[in-house]
């Protein structure tokens, strides 16, 4: 019996996919087991960041929105993976169209096979590179959710994630990292995604927070974290995964990987210490949330620089980034009055801009030939591509986020009603409660 009678048509593409159609053997000689090993690990480390972010954010909201907040992160796993497989990867890394975006040649992972792809990943299978990049694409919209938790309806949010991934993340990734991307071609340095990930998500969070509006009672009610251990749990795994995030950007297990890992550790831990010292100076107490926020700030700051700077520079980034973020979160935010509920902008947006600038200042070829020298090393011109990247990221994020949110608002409910917000989105959007005692 011919099975194609049973599965007519719909399956044709699955068969036809040349994607993984090459036997491993043919290419085995160029692949490195050590590099594959580490890139698998790095991919998993970045993947766990998304649930971790869910817990980090989920602990910071009120109990009635716990599950909803965690879901805002976790659903990105499902949504973006499918988007990435269908067309997202192709838009981001596929053959260039005008320096802005990839075309659809690699849709359905078409051609993304088990052999190495020299320009992106010379020693690991192309499909593994695509999965590593997928993990970044998932995490980024999840960060945006930090600006709009506790008041955004879930169905609209899901559409937002898919549209945002397609209209903001994919082009930005292409411009900065894709072959032919114009910011890449200008020579901008962004080791692990300070511009692509943190600037876009941070500014999008701000835009969305302003457009969707503050939570009811913002400013007067005591909107306290409902579960600090979850914040620590999520924060710890976010921090852990970030090592894979930054060191995996070396696309292998090399000295550069080790450098990125060391820089990540030194910058983040230093930043944690700086934040609690600021806490103590300003408020008299070293807070747990301060330590976690400091870690995150340091991680954001070091992300674009991790493989381009010395450990001494990482230490410097670890000292400066939290100071700037602390100032923003504690003073500027309160004055401007927007409700960036979990400080996605204050940490990722502000820290991302600072990190991108610092990369332009502190980068040195002495640690990474493939990089460039920064301002401090005599190459002030490096600031131009850095600024181009920053500005492009900000403009793209702000404009597109506004377009998407306004657009969605035309034909569906984006903002929860007062009654829904009062009851909590766990019940409203998921029909579940986080904790059941009775």
């Amino acid at each position: 019996m011919k099975l194609s009678i049973l599965f007519p048509g719909t399956l044709a593409w699955a068969l036809a996919l040349p994607a993984a159609a090459l036997a491993a053997d043919d290419t085995a000689q160029e692949l490195s087991a050590g590099d594959i090993s580490y890139m698998c690990v790095a991919t998993l480390l970045v993947l766990i960041m998304t649930p971790a972010l869910g817990f980090f954010y989920g602990g910071l909201v009120r109990r009635k929105n716990t599950i909803n907040t965690i879901m805002m992160s976790m659903v990105c796993l499902a949504l973006i993976t499918v988007q990435w497989f269908l067309f997202g990867y192709s838009l981001s890394f596929g053959p260039d169209a005008g320096g802005i975006i990839g075309n659809l040649d690699w849709a359905f992972f078409n051609g993304v096979g088990l052999e190495a792809f020299k320009d992106y990943s010379p020693t690991i299978p192309h499909v593994l590179f695509a999965m590593f990049q997928l993990a970044f694409a998932i995490l980024t919209p999840a960060i945006v959710s930090g600006g709009i938790v506790e008041r955004t309806r879930f169905p609209a949010y899901c559409l937002f994630v898919v549209l945002w991934g397609t209209l903001v993340y994919d082009p930005m990734a292409h411009m900065v990292w894709g072959l032919g991307g114009f910011i890449r071609d200008m020579g901008a340095l962004d080791f692990a995604g300070g511009t692509v990930i943190h600037i876009t998500s941070g500014f999008s969070a701000l835009t969305a927070a302003v457009l969707i509006g503050a939570r009811k009672g913002y400013g007067s009610l005591t909107l306290r974290p409902h579960n600090m251990p979850y914040v620590c749990l999520g924060g710890s795994f976010l921090w852990l995964g970030w090592f894979g995030f930054n060191s995996g950007a070396a696309v292998g297990a090399t000295a550069l990987t080790a450098l990125a890992l060391a820089n990540t550790g030194i910058a983040s831990c230093t930043a944690g210490l700086v934040w609690i010292l600021l806490d103590r100076m300003v408020h008299g107490k070293m807070t747990t949330l301060g330590l976690m926020t400091g870690f995150v700030a340091g991680l954001v700051g070091i992300t674009p620089a991790a493989g381009f700077v010395t450990v001494g520079s990482a230490f410097l980034i670890g000292i400066t980034t939290p100071v700037i973020c602390f100032f923003f979160v504690s003073y500027v935010k309160g004055r401007l009055g927007y409700d960036d509920s979990l400080d996605a902008f204050g940490c990722h947006g502000v820290g991302g801009v600072w990190g991108a600038l610092m990369t332009g200042v502190l980068a040195t070829k002495s640690v990474n030939d493939a990089g460039a020298d920064g301002w401090l090393y005599g190459n002030a011109a490096q600031m131009i591509p850095q600024l181009t990247g920053i500005v492009t990221g900000i403009v793209l994020a702000v404009v597109m986020t506004a377009v998407i949110i306004k657009g969605l608002g035309l034909f569906m409910q984006v903002r929860a009603t007062d009654a829904e917000e009062a009851q909590g989105l766990d019940l409203i959007d998921h029909g579940e409660r986080a904790y059941n005692k009775m």
């Binding site: 009610l221 005591t222 009654a419 009851q423 019940l427 998921h430 029909g431 579940e432 409660r433 009775m438």
Partner: protein, 122 residues
């Protein structure tokens, strides 16, 4: 002991109203309150929850119980204040249960009766 009565007012309210109620009570001179997490069912038929395809009718909804003991504040003032804040006009707004206390004691000072409730001078 004077002959004014000490009332204990138990208000079962919607959780989201607590902050507003606290603020309101302060304006009418209530000196203290004790709050607890309860689950209530009344006219509200509850809601449904969905766990792996089984739809469950849950009739116990989270509520907040606020216990306020008053002596000087007139009972009606208190009841009106609670109603003003907590009345949304929808089923589930809650109930107020009032009982008379036999006496009250301030643990710190040992004062008994209404005086135990009057707290405006520390």
């Amino acid at each position: 002991m004077d002959d004014r009565k000490i009332f204990k007012v138990d208000a079962v309210i919607r959780p989201e109203k607590l902050d507003e109620l606290k603020a309101k009570l302060r304006t009418i001179g209530v000196t203290g309150m004790t709050v607890s997490e309860v689950y209530g069912c009344g006219l509200t038929m509850g809601h449904t929850e969905i766990y792996r395809g089984s739809v469950m009718a849950v009739d116990l909804m989270p509520k907040i119980k606020v216990e306020i003991v008053i002596y000087e504040t007139p009972l009606d003032t208190l009841i009106d204040a609670i109603r003003e804040v907590c009345n949304t006009g929808h089923v589930g707004d809650g109930k107020i249960f009032v009982s008379e206390l036999y006496t009250a004691v301030k643990i710190r000072t040992g004062e008994k009766g209404g005086i135990a409730i009057i707290d405006n001078k520390p």
